[in-house]
């Protein structure tokens, strides 16, 4: 049975668990011995991801060999220039190269000093709709309305950003450069390559992480021990008072996910669905009276699904709800819930 736990846990960690296997693992995990074994495997699996062989790769020798390879054929093919021409060419080449180099160096130095003096850091703010950002390292971020992302550091050894508000991250895998999110109040999330939703601690919120794939470490830099590692399907909160809570996270992502790969509405009150579609498509759903449309709506959509397709989907389930586009950014909602029989 032990071997089965190893495989099921590994499949869970790598997102390859079928629903039957998921039930099997849940059943086995009721036995404390297996639960503890599974947790131990998960812990080791997560730590092993930092493994990165550090050796002397003899870069300079490789570089020299490379230049030899690219230059050798040229040297054979080129006819020998006449002595006079050679002198002229050499002098001209020398001047051009160094003058251009010096000019470029000066320009870049000036630019560097300018940047340093200003001390600005790239910042992305989502004003009134979800904002998508593609970071230099290949990571993707969907910022919720009102959220701000500041790029603090993007170096060879680290990637660091600060978040205010909520955002969904899809971080590119790079074990050498951990991706760290400053959530405020000395609370940080550290990831290697995964997708998850993060909420900062600003404005009284707790630092919160909901993990979709991979694993994320949520910790406080000031208080040792306040440190939780979350895996796919888990949600953890660390508030400024350093109280930790952990629960299972339903993958039915809310409006923040809109615009990512998919959006899943599961038993979502239809009025909430309208709010989220409004955010996603930049439109407003309005009604002349309080309709209290709390009937549930279930639908899966891709990022490419059009607004019309979604409106038709609503109409097909609830024909008594009328949705009329009154102008490009407003949709008038009328009627009541009564599902089609």
């Amino acid at each position: 049975m032990d071997s089965r736990i190893y495989i099921l846990t590994h499949k869970r960690l790598t997102g390859q668990l079928s629903s039957t296997e998921n039930s099997e693992l849940a059943r086995l995990s009721l036995i404390p011995e297996y639960k503890s074994l599974s947790d131990e495997i998960a812990y080791l699996w997560n730590i092993s991801n930092n493994y990165f062989p550090t050796k002397d790769w003899k870069k300079d020798a490789a570089k020299d060999a490379f230049y030899e390879k690219i230059r050798a054929p040229k040297a054979v093919a080129m006819p020998a220039p006449e002595p006079v021409a050679q002198v002229v060419t050499h002098t001209s080449s020398f001047n051009w190269k160094y003058i251009a180099g010096a000019a470029a160096a000066l320009l870049l130095l000036t630019w560097g000093i300018f940047k340093f003096a200003i001390g600005d850091k790239p910042q992305i703010t989502a004003q009134d709709k979800i904002e998508y950002a593609n970071l230099d390292d290949g990571s993707k971020v969907w910022l919720d309305q009102g959220a701000t992302l500041t790029i603090i550091e993007e170096s060879e050894s680290s990637r660091k950003v600060a978040l205010e508000g909520e955002a969904f991250f899809d971080v590119s895998h790079d074990p050498q450069r951990p991706f760290i999110i400053d959530l405020g109040n000395d609370i940080y999330a550290q990831v290697l390559g995964t997708s998850f939703k993060a909420r900062s601690t600003h404005e009284g919120d707790n630092g919160k992480i909901s993990v979709r794939d991979g694993s994320v470490r949520l910790y406080s830099s000031k208080h040792e021990g306040y440190d939780i590692t979350l895996i796919a399907g888990e949600e953890g909160e660390l508030n400024p008072e350093l109280e930790v809570s952990l629960k299972n996270y339903s993958i039915n992502i809310d409006g923040l996910m809109a615009g990512k790969l998919e959006i899943v509405f599961k038993d979502e009150p239809i009025e909430d669905v309208f709010d989220k579609l409004g955010l996603h498509y930049g439109v407003e759903f309005v009604s002349d009276e309080d309709l209290s449309l709390t009937c549930p709506f279930n639908r899966y959509m891709h990022s490419g699904t059009s607004l019309d397709e979604m409106l038709n989907a609503v109409a097909s389930v609830y024909p008594n709800i009328t949705l009329t586009k009154s102008d490009r950014s407003t949709i008038l909602v009328e009627g009541h819930c009564r599902e089609v029989e």
Binding site: L44, Y51, F52, P53, A62, L108
Partner: protein, 199 residues
Amino acid sequence: MADILLYCVIYVPWRLMKEKFNDEEILELLNSNDERAIELLFDRFFDYLCAVVYRVIHDYEAARDVVQDIFLDLWKKRESINVSIALRPYLRRAAVNRGLNYIKRKRIIPNDDEDAAVDIVSQVPSGQAYMEKDELETRIYQVIEGLPPKCKLIFGMSRFESMSYQEIATALDISIKTVENQISKALKILRSEVQLFMV
């Protein structure tokens, strides 16, 4: 004297500037036949890519050759190359694909087993501070290095390249059952070899 002046005016600023070039600028240099692009690419990515390839093929010299070939290819296609994502993930993908091709081409899927494994038990450090996370990490890395070759290969493909059982089975032309067995074996070795650290 002139040499010192040139060193100060050209070389030092150039060394400083190297850190500042972004991916787009490096590609522009490459597109315009400027060898500085290769210099920058080597400095920035060579060690990283070698380590990435090594984690897949576990052969020091071959990893260096594979990465050199990537740079040669970049240089050959320098005028037409068009990269739409950041360079690091782009090169990483190229490195992993070439590493996997190398395995296929050379048919180097190793036959296990136990004899080929490094004697990892003898590498257990002495002392009592087994609970330190850094030491645990170091120990885990030693164990990974010492896994039997086939086990290490399959474990690495799953752990570091996020390849599914099916993808690994296809890449190595083995059954999914074999992949499962090897993953399970790797995890068991890992667990048993770090027990002391898990106090």
